[in-house]
Symmetry: C2
Subunit: 521 residues, 2 copies
C-alpha cells in the first residue's frame, strides 16, 4: 500500500467519503488510488473554486467534512476565496494539496511556490506530510482538526513521493472533541440580564441556528421579551413553517442600526459582535449601539445548544413558548418580473426540505421574506463575503443530500466566478435548480458607490458606471448553461418563472433559469 | 484630490495607462476617480484570474506594466495563479489590492484576511499604503519595482480610507533602473569555453528571446558549433521567417535529455539551469547531463543582449552568421482534424505579426513546428505552469497591440479556468481568435499518470480514468462563447478549420473556433 492509499483509507475510516477534486500531475497516485478505495467518491470540478466551495456546501449539510484535492500552490490559490468563506462559516474541510516530491522541491521548478504561506491564511490546521510513514497519522489528525470544534479548514500538503512510496497502512480515526460546556454561572448571569426588564436582544449564529437551539432561543425571547435576531450571514439556518421565526441582522449598517436601536443588552450566541461589513466615511464601524452591553453566552467552540436549553430553564420558559412560523405562502404572482415578484414566485413554489444557497445579492432582497412561511428548508449564505460561493455550495449540498431539492439563487455578476459548477452538477446528475438573477449589472456596487460617498463627492461618471455594467455584451446564461450540459430557459414574467420552477423541481437533475430583471431595483 | 486620484495620476505619470479591474466596495473611490483621470483606461474582467493574466499578457507585449485592481484578499486569491505565471515570466505588474479602511481593520469583518501573506508569494515588492500622503510616492515606487530589472509583480495594498481621504497630489515618476552590465571577464570565459571545441549548448531565455539578442546568439552558435536552444516556457519568443531558428528545450524530460545528450558545456543566458517540471520515480530531476559544466553568461537582472553581442564579437562571429528561418508554410491540410492537421492549418494561415498565446498543451504539440517558417510573430507561453493563463494573456496582449492579430490556442481543460476572458474580449472589441483544442479530456494527465508510474503499478481503473474525462457531459464551446458575446463555430475537418481561421482573422473583433479533436492523439 502506497502513501496515497494509506491516506485515502484513513480518510474513509475517519468518515470522509467524498473528495472534490481538480488534480494535476503531482496528485496522480492519489487519483490512481481511487480505484483501490471505492468507498471514497471522487467528484471532479473544472476549477478549484468549485471544488473548495462544494466541500463547504457538503459539510454545511452533512455535518462532516469532505476532502478536496488541489494541485500545488496555484490550485490552492484558485480555491482560496471559497476556503475563506468556509473559514468564516467554521465549516470543517480537509484540504489535500499536492506538492512536488520532497527531493525535487529545492530545484524551484516552474509550478513551485510557498504553499504553506498561501494555506496559512485560511487554515486553522496546516501540515506538510514529510514521509509515507507519517501520512496516515497526519490525515487522521487533519480530519480531527477539521471537526474542531469549531469546524475549520485543515490543510495537508502532500508531496508526490509521499504518495507514491510504500507506506505502513491506514491510521485509526481520532475521536472528535466535544464542544465545551458553558459555565452555569455565565448562563445564570445572562438569565439575570434578560429578566432585568431592560431592552435586550439575543443574536444567534453558527451552530445555534439549527432547530433545537433555535426553539430554545425562541422560548427565551418569548418569555423575557428579548428580541431574537440571527447573524447576518449564517452558514446554515433551519427555517420555514413550524420553525422559530428569526430575523437576520441587516447587511446594510443602516438597517442593522434600526434593528438594534434601543437595545441595552446584546447576548451573543456562537457569533461575533456585529460590525459593519465595510467602513463608510462618517459612519460607525461597530454596530453595537451606545450604552448597550455585550454579553457572550457561548463562543464558537462552546455547546451553544446546551447553553440555550439551560438559559430557557433559567428564565423559566415554558416548553411550548417558542414562536414558530405559520405555514404561509404568497400567491403565485403575475406580471413583470421584479425583485418582489421573483421573491413571491419562489415563496409560492419552494418545495419541502429544499436547501437554498443564497447568493442573490441585491436582486434577491425579497426572497428571504417571502419564503419565511414556506415548508421547512435550510438557508446557506455567503459567510465570508467572497463572491462565487453559491453555485459550488449548492453543488456540494446536493452531493450531501441526494434526496433533497437544492435551489441555487445566483446574481449574474457572482455567477461568473464559479459558473463551472454547472458542469459538475450535470456530470453527477445533481438535483440543483439554479435561478440566475440577471439584472445585467454589479448592482450592489452601484449602491455601494453612493454609500461610500464616492458618488456624492464627484458624481458618477460614465467610466465609473461602466465598471458596474454587465450589459455590454449581455451575458446569455441559457447559452452558458447549455454549454456546460445543464438544460436552461429564460423567463421574463412572474408566471413564466413559477412554471419553470415547477418544471425544474419536478424533474431530476440540474436546471437553470435565467430570470431577467430590471437593472434598477 | 483624494488618495485614489493621486494614485492613478501617479500611475499615469509613470507610464501605466491601463488598469485591468474587478473591483468591490473597498475600491469604489478608485473606480470613481477613473472619470477624473481619463488617461487611465479601465478594462473590466468578470473574474480576477482574467484581470491578472491580462496584465501579464499586456506587459509581455507592451514592455511596460499595466495595473490591476483587485478586491481584498479573496480577489487577490482568485488572481493568484496568473500572478504566479507572471512571477515566473518576470513580467512587470502593478497590483492594486483594496483593503478595509485602516480603522476598520481590527474589527475583522467577514471579508478581512491577511492580504500581505497571500501577496508575498507572488510579489517581489509589497507594501500597504498607510496614509493618503504616502500613497502617491508608494505608487511611484511600485511602478519602479515592477520594472526591476528583472520585471516582477509589485503589490500595493490600498486601504479604503487612504483612497477617500484628501491627498497632496501625484508623485513624480522614478527612473527605471538599467540592467547590470555583464563582466567582460565572464564573456571572455564563456567565449573560451565555446572555442574549446568541446560540445556546447547555449540555453537562451527571458529577455534574450527577442530579435536582436537572438541574432547574436545564433551568430555565436553558428560560429562555434554550439547548439542554440530556447528555454522551455518563454514569456515572449520572437520567431518566424527571417528570425533565428531556436528549438525550445522539451517539456518532457525524456526529450530534453535527448536535446542535451553529449553536451559538455551549457551556457545559460537569462534562464535557469534546466530541471524537470515534476519529479518522476527513478528519473533525474536535474536535466543537466553528467559531466556537463554549467556556465552563466547573464542572469535575469543582467543586460543579456549586450552580453550576447559581446560574446559574438569575442568568438569572432561574422555579422551575417545568424541562421534564420526561411519563409515556409505547410500547404492547407485536408481531411480529419488531428493534432497534426491542426498544426498544419495554423501554419498555413497564421497572419503576419500575429501574437500567439499558447496553451494548447498536448493537442497543440505540432503547432510550434508548423509555424516556424510563418511570417514573423510572437509566441507567449505558460511560464509558471498554472493553467488558465492563455485566454487572459491573449486578452491583455490584444489591449497592448491593437493593430496586431492575436491567436489564443487553448486546450479545453485549461480553457475552463478563465473562460470569462471572452467577455472582456467582446466588450473591448479585441482582435483575438481563440481556437479551443477540444479533445474532451485532460489528456496531459492521462500521459502523466503513466509517466509517474501510477498507471504501471496499479493499472488505470475506471474511477481514475473518470478524473481525466471531459466528455460527460461534453463541453459545448460554441454555446459557451456565444453566451459570453463572442461569435463561435465548431469545426471537425482541417478544411473547415482553415476557412474559419481565415474568416476570424479577416474580421475585426473576437472569434472562437472549437476544433474537435480525437481524444487520443
Amino acid at each position: 500500500m502506497n502513501g496515497a492509499q494509506a491516506l485515502i483509507r484513513t480518510l474513509v475510516a475517519s468518515g470522509v467519503e467524498v473528495c472534490f477534486a481538480n488534480p494535476g500531475t503531482s496528485e496522480m497516485h492519489f487519483v490512481a488510488a481511487l480505484d483501490q478505495v471505492p468507498e471514497m467518491r471522487g467528484v471532479l470540478g473544472l476549477f478549484e473554486g468549485v471544488v473548495t466551495g462544494a466541500a463547504d456546501g457538503y459539510a454545511r449539510m452533512a455535518d462532516k467534512p469532505a476532502a478536496t484535492l488541489l494541485h500545488l500552490g496555484s490550485g490552492l490559490g484558485n480555491g482560496l476565496a471559497n476556503l475563506h468563506n468556509a473559514r468564516r462559516a467554521r465549516t470543517p474541510v480537509v484540504n489535500i494539496v499536492g506538492d512536488q516530491a520532497t527531493y525535487h522541491k529545492h530545484y524551484d521548478a516552474p509550478l513551485d511556490s510557498d504553499i504553506e504561506t498561501v494555506a496559512r491564511n485560511v487554515s486553522g490546521w496546516l501540515r506538510t506530510s514529510r514521509s509515507p510513514d507519517a501520512v496516515a497519522a497526519d490525515a487522521a489528525e487533519a480530519v480531527a482538526a477539521a471537526y474542531g470544534p469549531p469546524g475549520q479548514v485543515a490543510t495537508l500538503i502532500l508531496p508526490a513521493d509521499v504518495s507514491w512510496l510504500e507506506a505502513g497502512g491506514p491510521a485509526a480515526p481520532i475521536a472528535t472533541a466535544s464542544r465545551d460546556a458553558v459555565d452555569p454561572a455565565t448562563v445564570a448571569q445572562v438569565a439575570a440580564v434578560l429578566r432585568s426588564g431592560e431592552p435586550a436582544a439575543l443574536l444567534v449564529g453558527g451552530s445555534a441556528l439549527r432547530e433545537v437551539p433555535l426553539v430554545d432561543a425562541s422560548r427565551v425571547a418569548a418569555t423575557t421579551g428579548a428580541k431574537l435576531l440571527g447573524e447576518t450571514f449564517p452558514r446554515r439556518l433551519e427555517r420555514g413553517a413550524g420553525l422559530p421565526a428569526v430575523d437576520r441582522l441587516g447587511y446594510l449598517a443602516e438597517f442593522a442600526a434600526m434593528q438594534l436601536d434601543g437595545v441595552r443588552h446584546l447576548v451573543l450566541v456562537d457569533t461575533k459582535s456585529p460590525v459593519s461589513f465595510f467602513a463608510y466615511p462618517s459612519k460607525a464601524s461597530d454596530l453595537v449601539p451606545e450604552g448597550c452591553t455585550v454579553h457572550v453566552l457561548a463562543g464558537p467552540a462552546d455547546d451553544a445548544a446546551a447553553a440555550l436549553a439551560g438559559l430557557a430553564d433559567a428564565v423559566g420558559a415554558p416548553a411550548d413558548a417558542a414562536v414558530v412560523r405559520a405555514a404561509e405562502r404568497p400567491d403565485r404572482p403575475s406580471g413583470p418580473l421584479t425583485a418582489e415578484t421573483l421573491g413571491r414566485a419562489i415563496g409560492a413554489v419552494l418545495p419541502a426540505l429544499a436547501i437554498v444557497a443564497d447568493e442573490g445579492n441585491t436582486a434577491g432582497l425579497f426572497v428571504s421574506g417571502f419564503t419565511a412561511g414556506a415548508p421547512r428548508h435550510d438557508w446557506l449564505t455567503l459567510t465570508g463575503g467572497a463572491i462565487g460561493f453559491g453555485m459550488p455550495v449548492a453543488t456540494g449540498a446536493a452531493v450531501a443530500c441526494p434526496g433533497r431539492p437544492v435551489l441555487s439563487l445566483e446574481a449574474d455578476g457572482s455567477a461568473m466566478y464559479t459558473l463551472q459548477s454547472l458542469w459538475t452538477q450535470a456530470r453527477e446528475g445533481l438535483d440543483v435548480t439554479t435561478v440566475v438573477l440577471a439584472n445585467r449589472s454589479y448592482a450592489i456596487l452601484n449602491m455601494e458607490l453612493a454609500r461610500v460617498g464616492a458618488a456624492a463627492a464627484q458624481g458618477v461618471g460614465p467610466r465609473a458606471a461602466a465598471m458596474f455594467d454587465l450589459s455590454q455584451p449581455a451575458l446569455d446564461f441559457v447559452s452558458l448553461s447549455q454549454g456546460l450540459g445543464v438544460p436552461a430557459t429564460r423567463v421574463e414574467t412572474a408566471e413564466e418563472l413559477t412554471i419553470s420552477l415547477d418544471k425544474a423541481f419536478g424533474e431530476p437533475g440540474p436546471h437553470l433559469i435565467e430570470a431577467v430583471l430590471p437593472t434598477t431595483l
